[in-house]
């Protein structure tokens, strides 16, 4: 379980996150929603140890900020929003980078490493691209390759910053399905999204962030209410329901 207590982040003397409290339980996909600039990426970076924080973050029995860099990487994987593949590397090699925290300096990759890499490739539907050069793939394919790298890290908690943005509809659904499957293995997934329908249908719980404060935390059905969407995003939305859940389409701005 991830237990966040009174988490505040101050960047360049400006308080960006204000005393946040929330938890993520084992087996849960928790969506993070909020307008641009609400602090979603800051929260994800802070959790993954990239910013100094105030407050406490506990992951299972660990006090997260006090873990060593290597130990943290064995417990928590982070998929950045900015997708970078710096050199013309093979897809399999890119995904295998996720195994770095599990190998001592100079140690060769093991059978367990190869298995984790193959599992990640399969899960993100990029196994057929394994021997291609990653930089020559389409943007959506690269996004899945990088997601597979984070999956290969094989951690208790996976934090993904907008993993579905820029993907075609089929692969957006595939990405959410993959995250759910990871969670169902008893892990925790924390994912930021802009697509309200994706959040409503695929997340077990949704946390809404506005101006660095939590503006809602609960089941998608509870969170996706006209008043709350108006307050957090400043939009009107069309609501529909089918057998698998909510469908939301923003239809207009609310004058504030």
């Amino acid at each position: 379980m991830l237990d966040v207590k009174n988490l505040s982040v101050v960047l360049s003397k400006r308080r960006v996150l204000h005393a946040l409290n929330f938890t993520i339980r084992n087996g849960e996909v928790v969506g993070l929603l909020g307008p641009n600039g609400a602090g979603k990426s800051t929260l994800m970076r802070a959790l993954s140890g990239q910013y100094p924080i105030e407050g406490a973050i506990k992951l299972d029995e660990h006090d997260l900020p006090s873990l060593s860099i290597a130990e943290r990487a064995r417990n928590l994987a982070y998929l950045p929003q900015t997708r970078i593949i710096g050199w013309p590397m093979r897809v399999r090699d890119v995904v295998a980078l996720g195994r770095l925290p599990w190998r001592a300096l100079g140690q060769r990759s093991s059978a367990a490493d190869a298995e984790a890499v193959q599992h990640a490739l399969d899960l993100m539907d990029v196994a057929h691209l394994a021997d291609r050069t990653a930089t020559e793939l389409s943007g959506g394919e690269q996004a899945r390759v990088l997601a597979a790298r984070a999956v290969a890290q094989d951690t208790r908690l996976l934090i993904a910053d907008e993993p579905a943005s820029g993907l075609d509809p089929a692969h957006q659904i595939m990405m959410m399905e993959a995250l759910r499957r990871i969670a169902r293995q008893g892990r925790m997934v924390f994912v930021s999204l802009h697509d309200l329908t994706l959040a409503a249908r695929w997340c077990d719980r949704v946390i809404m962030l506005k101006d660095g404060e939590i503006a809602g935390d609960g089941s998608p059905g509870l969170m996706m209410q006209p008043q709350r969407l108006a307050h957090v995003f400043g939009v009107r939305a069309h609501f529909a329901l089918d057998t698998e859940g909510l469908i939301l389409a923003p239809t207009g701005l609310i004058q504030r």
Binding site: I69, R74, P80, T82, G86, L97, L100
Partner: protein, 329 residues
């Protein structure tokens, strides 16, 4: 290409280039005489020429070329920037400045160790400044910017010293040194520079994991168990030690650090770490050949090797850039 095959091939090229380097010179000794001269020893003129003149030159060309190739490869990987090279972070510029100042004060020739010591001191100051400036942020961009600023400053100060130079002879000495040369180097130079270069190589080798992880960006690397600030310190120190020592004994030799990693990258898997050893071997081979060419083309006055690497390097590099751009487009 398989990494082992590439490394074996490059090692073979290095060996051939080293033998050629030993065999070519004004004294007209062939390959066989060169090798027997070194292995068997002896006190005849041929053996002395080989041991005292050609052998140190060959060793230095190999070691300095390797240093430049290796440093270029590690910096390109670390900064995720194909334009990175040892000159970029200001270490060679500051090393040159250190040496040039000694020329200016007329003490450069007072002892064999004075000039290299000045250059090393310059390189050291560059490292301290870089680490202090870059330590404030975790960004590699800060390091590039600080390096560029340092390079410009060193270049400006070098020009200033040159224009204030007391006599034409000192200016001539400075210019000659700035062009880079391996002429008239002795085993003392080897013993002075080689240990520092090897120390630098070992540090750079420690950074292999970090530069692999950094190919997915700093955010990803930082959450993949890589201590970025330690990686930066190790790389900057390694490059500074080895390039500082190289510049100290041979002056500024350009283009190898930029060109060799580019030339060899298509033959590797693209992982930055896999480029380190091939770049070291390729840099060594290239400088050996360039230095041999210097002796052959103008035997009487001898070209500066820095001029030759730039003359071969720049057009070739341009061709390479145009070709790869066309393939991508």
């Amino acid at each position: 290409m398989r990494p082992a095959l590439l490394n074996v091939g490059l090692t073979a090229i290095v060996l051939v280039a080293a033998l050629l380097s030993l065999a070519v010179g004004p004294a007209g000794l062939g390959v066989t005489e060169s090798v027997t001269g070194i292995v068997a020893g002896g006190s005849d003129v041929g053996a002395i020429i080989l041991r005292e003149i050609r052998l140190p030159r060959t060793i230095l060309a190999l070691a300095i070329g390797s240093t430049l190739g290796l440093s270029g490869a590690v910096l390109q990987g670390f900064l995720r920037n194909p334009l990175a090279e040892p000159g970029l972070i200001g270490v060679s510029g500051m090393a040159s400045l250190g040496a040039v100042l000694l020329f200016y004060f007329g003490v450069a020739g007072s002892a064999l160790y004075v000039l290299p010591a000045g250059a090393l001191l310059g390189a050291l100051i560059a490292v301290v400044l870089l680490l202090v400036l870059a330590a404030r942020s975790n960004s590699t961009l800060t390091l590039i910017l600080a390096g560029v600023a340092l390079s410009s400053l060193a270049g400006a100060l070098t020009s200033l010293v040159l224009s204030l130079s007391p006599n034409p002879f000192a200016s001539y000495e400075i210019i000659f040194w700035l062009l880079g040369s391996l002429k008239d180097r002795s085993m003392e130079h080897v013993w002075l520079a080689l240990p520092l270069m090897i120390a630098g190589w070992l540090l750079i080798a420690l950074a292999g994991r970090a530069i692999n992880a950094l190919s997915l960006g700093e955010e990803a690397a930082a959450t993949m168990g890589i201590n970025l600030s330690r990686a930066r310190t190790v790389i900057v120190l390694g490059v500074a030690l080895s390039v500082g020592a190289a510049t100290a004994v041979a002056g500024a030799i350009g283009f190898i650090g930029l060109m060799v990693p580019h030339l060899l990258r298509p033959f590797t898997s693209g992982m930055p770490r896999q480029l380190l050893l091939p770049s070291a071997l390729g840099g060594g081979a290239l400088l050996l050949v360039a230095d041999t060419v210097c002796r052959v083309v103008l035997p009487a006055s001898e070209l500066n090797v820095g001029v030759v690497t730039a003359l071969i390097g720049a057009p070739f590099f341009l061709w390479l850039v145009v070709r790869t751009r066309r393939e991508v487009a």
